[in-house]
Symmetry: C2
Subunit: 212 residues, 2 copies
């Protein structure tokens, strides 16, 4: 929200509070809309309608649809950090931190508040076969960061003696993300929460076979 648009290259003026307030409101609506219809379905027309603003009025805040998508994605990432990552990092390093991350992620997926569902994983699914572009790059970068974070946590678990020294942290991260993504996918495809326990069981199995 505090990101200044790249177009504001002229003598940086003092913040225009009015603009920032509307932009914040619009981005909130954009997040809600994108979590229902995806980032591709995040249309200027529908967003304008939902935010109670004119279509062309949106262009005062976003240079293009791509710009709108990326800014909305960043808001979502910020929320993910606040709600999932930060609480996890407060746990002591090692397995308990990994467990907290997984639990928090599950809660994030099933959260009743905006954004509904795991909008970041949804974005990754949506843009994995998209042509190159800033949005795809942003999604790939987010995935890389997440993979790195989990890998690091796995490595720390080895150092703490909770994971076997033979464990490959990158392999662990791949499987961790795989479980989350598989759950996300089945949940959306079958429109049921029944598979949360399957994901948990898979995670437990992953932890079991990682122990020394």
């Amino acid at each position: 929200m505090s990101i200044r648009p790249a177009t504001r290259t002229t003598t940086r003026a003092a913040p225009q509070p009015k603009a920032e307030r509307t932009k914040e409101r619009v981005l909130r609506e954009a997040l809600s809309l994108a979590s229902r219809v995806g980032f591709t379905g995040l249309t200027f027309g529908t967003l304008a309608e939902q935010a109670g603003i004119s279509k062309s009025g949106l262009f005062a805040h976003f240079d293009s649809k791509e710009d709108l998508q990326i800014q909305t994605l960043h808001v979502a990432e910020q929320m993910f950090v606040e709600r999932v990552l930060s609480p996890a990092v407060k746990e002591p390093r090692g397995v308990s931190r990994l467990k907290r991350l997984f639990d928090g992620w599950m809660d994030w997926i099933h959260s009743g508040t905006v954004p509904r569902g795991d909008i970041l994983t949804a974005a990754a699914f949506e843009f994995d076969d998209a042509p190159d572009g800033p949005m795809r790059a942003a999604v790939v970068e987010g995935h890389g960061k997440m993979h790195g974070t989990i890998e690091r946590m796995a490595r720390q678990s080895i150092e703490e003696g909770q994971f076997s020294r033979k464990l490959d942290p990158a392999q662990f991260a791949f499987e961790f993300l795989g479980i989350v993504h598989a759950h996300h996918h089945v949940r959306r495809l079958l429109r049921t929460d029944l598979h949360a326990r399957r994901a948990r069981a898979a995670f437990e199995r992953l932890l079991d076979s990682s122990h020394p």
Copy 2:
């Protein structure tokens, strides 16, 4: 290919070979196109261009875009059965059959021929958040069949004494499909084949922890 369109409800006439030849060719092009741009990107305009036929000429074979998508999907499913499922079922029941299924699936994903990549998993990803409709229903049905098949193979592995009696076949199927889907996703997102070995390692780990 042999599917007679539902519209042909009048006194079933003798087959019109010309139409069937064209339709077969068009469906081949549709499969190629859909594996590159997805089923949503499978457009009458671009398909017409690629197949060397006029846009309106396509409507002689397909009632609507949905009809086109579903028929293309069925062709892909048929190919999957021929190339992956049938060879696997030729193996003796039990673990070897499961291994053959997994290996065949991996080969199918990396196959250089049309369709490129796992178009069925791609369809599942594409329509998991789509509004209800015939195409989504077809995708869900395909997923259900696949899940059931793997579940059955896991159950047979238990009966053969190769899997532990405590194993939950449905959990096994969830994780099997999860590995394939995770691989598919990462492969598309990062545009690299490096993660095939990660998927294989995950599958080996799944088998290991399923043994009695």
